[in-house]
């Protein structure tokens, strides 16, 4: 099994420009079923690189090509509209890769699509997700990993690749890896993914990559302590060296000056360790801790 995507995933790509095409092609080469692209002015044509139809709307992609998942690769000013369009077309899983989407746009999108619509939205500003051997939706390089039993969830794209890579070199594969994104408003939270892993019989251990800022990691940690105390769980919180009050890239990655406690990497590590979770100081150590926990 896997979570959120599998062999039955049929993807429509919203945003068929050069980046969208490059990554959709890689997803397709991996075996992902990409069934269509959309472009408001290119409906009725063929997406040559992928050999699939282009529709003017997502609705047509759902009705005519059977799409059930959308990958959103449109520029930030159009992302809100694209996600809402996919939702209204009946898509059940929406993966928004685009970065730089305004907070107000996502607040409204979250309210409509996730809170009231009950649709699985991943991202925005995320690398997407991969269930090795089954499906890859997004920009995660698939050739660095393989099927296995570790569920991986992360707020950071490249950092996830790092840990997948190090695990793979030790012969450890992944059930599903979900990059949830680092923005202040994202569709799927840490805890949502961890709960889904807990219910997945093929996921035997969980690795998660957090960051400075916010308190999602603590919330997830508390749930792990109370519900799956026997599952091996390893974490890493990026940003031990991040100075207070400075924005470090992601919109969410900031240790707030005078903010509520527990936003720094050191504070998060301490809290998570009190919940029985092994927390590493860097990605290599996280992979190492996971290898040790699985070897027990």
């Amino acid at each position: 099994m896997s979570i959120f995507i599998d062999e039955s995933t049929k993807v429509v790509v919203q945003g068929i420009g050069s980046q969208g095409t490059f990554h959709a092609k890689r997803n397709q080469d991996y075996g992902t079923s990409i069934v269509a692209g959309t472009h408001p002015k290119k409906g009725g044509t063929t997406w040559d690189e992928l050999g699939v139809p282009v529709y003017a709307t997502v609705k047509e992609a759902v009705e005519e090509a059977g799409a059930n998942t959308s990958m959103v690769m449109v520029p930030a000013p159009f992302t809100k509209g694209a996600i809402l369009e996919a939702y209204e077309a009946g898509i059940q899983t929406i993966v928004a890769i685009t970065e730089g989407v305004p907070v107000h746009d996502m607040t409204e999108v979250y309210d409509t699509v996730v809170r009231r619509g009950g649709v699985r939205l991943i991202g925005p500003n995320c690398p997407g997700l991969i269930s090795p051997g089954k499906s890859n939706v997004g920009i995660i390089p698939a050739d660095i990993t393989m099927p296995g039993k570790v569920g991986l969830v992360s707020r950071s794209g490249t950092l996830t690749y790092q840990i997948m890579h190090e695990l793979a070199q030790a012969g450890i594969g992944i059930s599903t890896c979900v990059g949830i994104g680092g923005d202040p408003v994202i569709g799927t939270q840490f805890l949502d993914v961890i709960q889904a892993f807990a219910e997945d019989p093929e996921t035997e251990a969980i690795a998660f990559v957090g960051e400075i800022g916010g308190s999602e990691e603590q919330k997830a940690g508390e749930w792990i302590r109370d519900n799956i105390p026997d599952t091996p769980v390893v974490g890493y919180i990026a940003g031990f060296e991040a100075p207070e009050g400075k924005q470090m890239g992601h919109a969410g990655a900031i240790v707030k000056e005078g903010g509520p406690g527990g936003e720094s990497a050191a504070e998060k590590k301490e809290i998570l360790e009190s919940f029985g979770i092994s927390v590493a100081m860097n990605p290599s150590e996280a992979a190492q801790l996971m290898i040790e926990r699985l070897g027990d």
């Binding site: 980046q19 990554h23 890689r26 930030a76 000013p77 890769i97 970065e99 730089g100 305004p102 907070v103 107000h104 746009d105 607040t107 409204e108 979250y110 309210d111 809170r115 009231r116 690398p127 920009i139 995660i140 390089p141 660095i144 992360s154 950071s156 794209g157 490249t158 950092l159 996830t160 690749y161 790092q162 890579h165 680092g182 202040p184 408003v185 990559v209 960051e211 916010g214 308190s215 890493y236 990026a238 940003g239 031990f240 060296e241 991040a242 100075p243 400075k246 924005q247 470090m248 890239g249 992601h250 919109a251 969410g252 990655a253 005078g258 990497a265 100081m281 860097n282 990605p283 290599s284």
Partner: protein
Amino acid sequence: MDLVEFQGKQLFRRNGVPVPAEGTACRTVEEVEAAARGYIETDGASAVMVKAQVKTGGRGKAGGVKYAPSVDDAREHASNILGLDIKGHTVNVVYVEPASDIDEEYYLSVMHDRVNKGELIICSREGGVDIEEVNRTNPDAVVKRTVLPSERENGLPKEIALEVMTQANMPEDVRDEAADLLVQLFAAYLAEDATLAEINPLIKNGEGRIIALDAKVTLDGNAAFRHDGYGEWQIEGIDNDDPLEAEAKSKGIQYVKLDGSVGVLGNGAGLVMATLDVVAQNGGRAANFLDVGGGASADAMAQSLGLVLSDPDVKSVFVNIFGGITRGEEVANGIIEATRRLGDFPQKLVIRLDGTNAEEGRRILEEANLPSVVSKPTMQEAAAEAVRLASA
């Protein structure tokens, strides 16, 4: 993007949030004197306020906000405040405005609610002081109300604003007016793509009117595409960015100056943060945080390297790339392009390249055989080498 007080008041004014009569932003004692003379001698104001314009809290406690009943007082305060350091921010601009008669002080804000994914209204009858202190000592006095998008399709309903004011036990004679101001503040927050709009203090003045005596506004830089005026909020002398940070910002590169000697450049904020951690754990200190972003082109790589190498504190550079959307051959070409453009530079570059098209990237780099470039297969080994080179 944070605004200073007078900019926040401009933004309030154009959105119908009541603020005091417009004042003057000044950079010299003479300008302050002229402004104070105008308000006191010509307009008949009883006094003026001289207020430091810095992007940090605690101005009052640091001596950055003064009441001046005469032109002489205003001049004296200006000479003390201009040049003052408030939590690392030098005061280069002060705002002079006619002093308001204060009858009572309250607190009101609207901010992005990260936990509930909506907007959070905070209101307190006790304002003008540290709101977090009030929150600790008298939590009942601080009313918090989350508003979800589905509750405010045509702006904040007046009933919600009134409910907040009633819960906060605002005086009955101003409750309705304060609720109106909250509706306007909320509209301003939405219209301007703010993530914070805070008024501390909100006051009842001598005539019993409710006005925003201060304004603290943060705008969402990601929404700049739909606000032509965002660039105008950048003010020289207030946006005290490091010159390299400012240059990076203008090129769309995420760069933060730090105090070590190992230049750090990578793709993705998480990986770059992790790189800082690994450099520190190998006994070094990062000189900067630079995220070239997703899908970095050869040109962006070259510009980013140029930026890091131009920092005299940088003794070595650790280029840490794990390609997803970023492609290895682009990174390699960017490094080659950068070394061509920059000519001779004394620092060595330690490169670690993995992910999308990494093999091609590594091949390109190897064939280019650049004397300033060292390749390492893992993040740990590259960090150790960069630290070694920085301390050599």
